[in-house]
């Protein structure tokens, strides 16, 4: 598998094979915690850390683990890292830890992570697996933050509330608000808002891809015509 370039890995993680928008994996945390941008960012970073660490470990042990028991081993590896992340958040970001609650331990069940371990890290070397984990994690985080920001804005007219939970007191200034008079649609923060928001994001992504395809199609015949002439 030497034909995989780092550029392709990054493009896949961010766009072409984005775990949230294309693979539609890890929807449970994606839909449940994205009621504010900061919640999305917090869970996204935690997931990214687990992505990278589990990809590295799985890649390191890929030649030692027998094929028959690889899945339980992968799950164990992922669970260990999730526990470590959970304890760290409990220690350093306690408020955020309380808000995200059950969804931090639930990263274990995020099928995107075991999906990458199985599909990529168990077949590739350590460096490539690291890049893949990082790209996939950041791609996932971007979707979480975008969806969280959109829902937070439509629902409450604010952006980055509780930023201080993550970046300390200095970050309070990051919070943007439309003011008290803003009449947000509460539905956006409730679960249906997550589904509607994700649906719109998927539609947007597919539309962008579709337009790119159309442009590519338009471009190729011209080139052919040129060479023919």
């Amino acid at each position: 598998m030497s034909d995989i370039t780092y550029g392709k890995l990054i493009r896949d993680g961010f766009w072409n094979n984005n775990q949230a928008l294309v693979a539609l994996l890890g929807l449970c945390p994606l839909l449940a915690v994205t009621n504010t941008a900061i919640n999305g960012l917090g869970l996204g970073i935690a997931t990214t850390v687990v992505f990278v660490l589990s990809n590295i470990t799985v890649s390191l042990i890929r030649n030692i683990v027998r094929n028959e028991i690889r899945l339980p081993v992968f799950v164990l590896v992922i669970a260990s890292f999730v526990t470590a992340v959970e304890l760290s958040m409990n220690a350093w970001f306690f408020e955020l830890y309380k808000i995200l609650g059950i969804f931090i331990p639930l990263i274990v069940t995020n099928c995107a992570i075991i999906g990458r371990a199985e599909a990529f890290a168990s077949k590739n070397n350590v460096i490539k697996s690291t890049v893949d984990g990082l790209a996939m994690g950041i791609g996932f985080t971007l979707v979480l933050v975008a969806l969280g920001a959109a829902r937070e804005f439509v629902g409450m007219g604010t952006l980055f509330t509780q930023a201080h939970l993550m970046f300390g007191e200095a970050a309070r200034g990051l919070t943007f608000s439309m003011g008290e008079d803003f009449k947000g649609a509460l539905l956006a923060i409730l679960p249906p808002g997550a589904f509607i928001g994700l649906g719109l994001m998927l539609a947007l992504k597919n539309n962008v891809d579709h337009r790119a395809d159309e442009r590519a199609k338009l471009a190729t015949p011209e080139k052919e015509a040129e060479t023919a002439a």
Partner: protein
Amino acid sequence: MQFPTITSPHTSRPNSVQKAMLWVILALIPGTLAMIWFFGWGILINMVLAITTAIACEALVMKLRGREIKPVIMDLSAILTAMLFAVAVPPLLPWWLTVLGVAFAILLVKQAYGGLGYNVFNPAMAAYVLLLISYPVQMTSWLPPMMLNENPMGLLQTLNVIFGGALPGSLTWDAVTMATPLDTMRTGLSLNQTVSEISSNPILGQFGGKGWEVVAGLYLLGGGFMLYKKAISWHIPVSTLGGLAVMALLFNILDGDAYPLSSFHIFSGAAMLGAFFIATDPVSAPGTRKGQIYYGAGIGILVYIIRTWGGYPDAIAFSVLLMNMAAPTIEFFTRPRTFGHRGSGND
């Protein structure tokens, strides 16, 4: 001698979407006029605003999809959606909520699924629920009916309230609005009053609420007209009202002080409108006759459950949306027997 061979179908039906929608719209008009009579200009203003928004949204989508605009608007389905939405929301709803609701109904609930015939949910009711959950205060600010209204507002004053949010003179929202009959019954029951005590409240009339029962009666009349014109079949409205009435009857027999009569439930709120005009939406309801009966009964029972024990005074919108979700399953289990085959269509 040889007879000419004519292939089936042997009769043509001079029916079209446009015609069916037109019958429904015509049937809706008497009830709507009564609403305007009892609750003021707001209903009419909301309706004009809703229809304008609906047409604009349909035109926008058709333009985006590169299709012809006129035939889609002329099928009248968007206009019917807008009308149903307008008679369901309170008369003094701020204009931007009407626009938001109708835009949501047409753009997301209807057109994002592929347009007329493809929408899973009833667009008008989905929009109603969106607004009810997001803006509960505005969505529950109902006016008292005309005969109890001490501060009737003229056309200009109503326009000012809807578009400017300013009540005339020194009026407050508390003075202008009044609990609906269903609210009154609900509050009274929660205070341990008996049904007969609550019925002495001036807002309650013969069956349901004053004014409301007339509107419901006219919707029933419109429903009868649609049945006569075969724009709808009897299955859904009868089973919806039947489900609601049977539930109300059972509990009323059990304890007449704590559970109002069937007639109260049928003539209050949006029950009649829902049974004849909303639940009968041919797109989001099941297609099989037997399925339609289950579907309607489900709506009626859910309405009773939510009205009596749920968090909201009325429940047509929630019940219709819930049963919309169940419609594909209902259809699956009620497939008619194929002619010449034994057993149900599921084999």
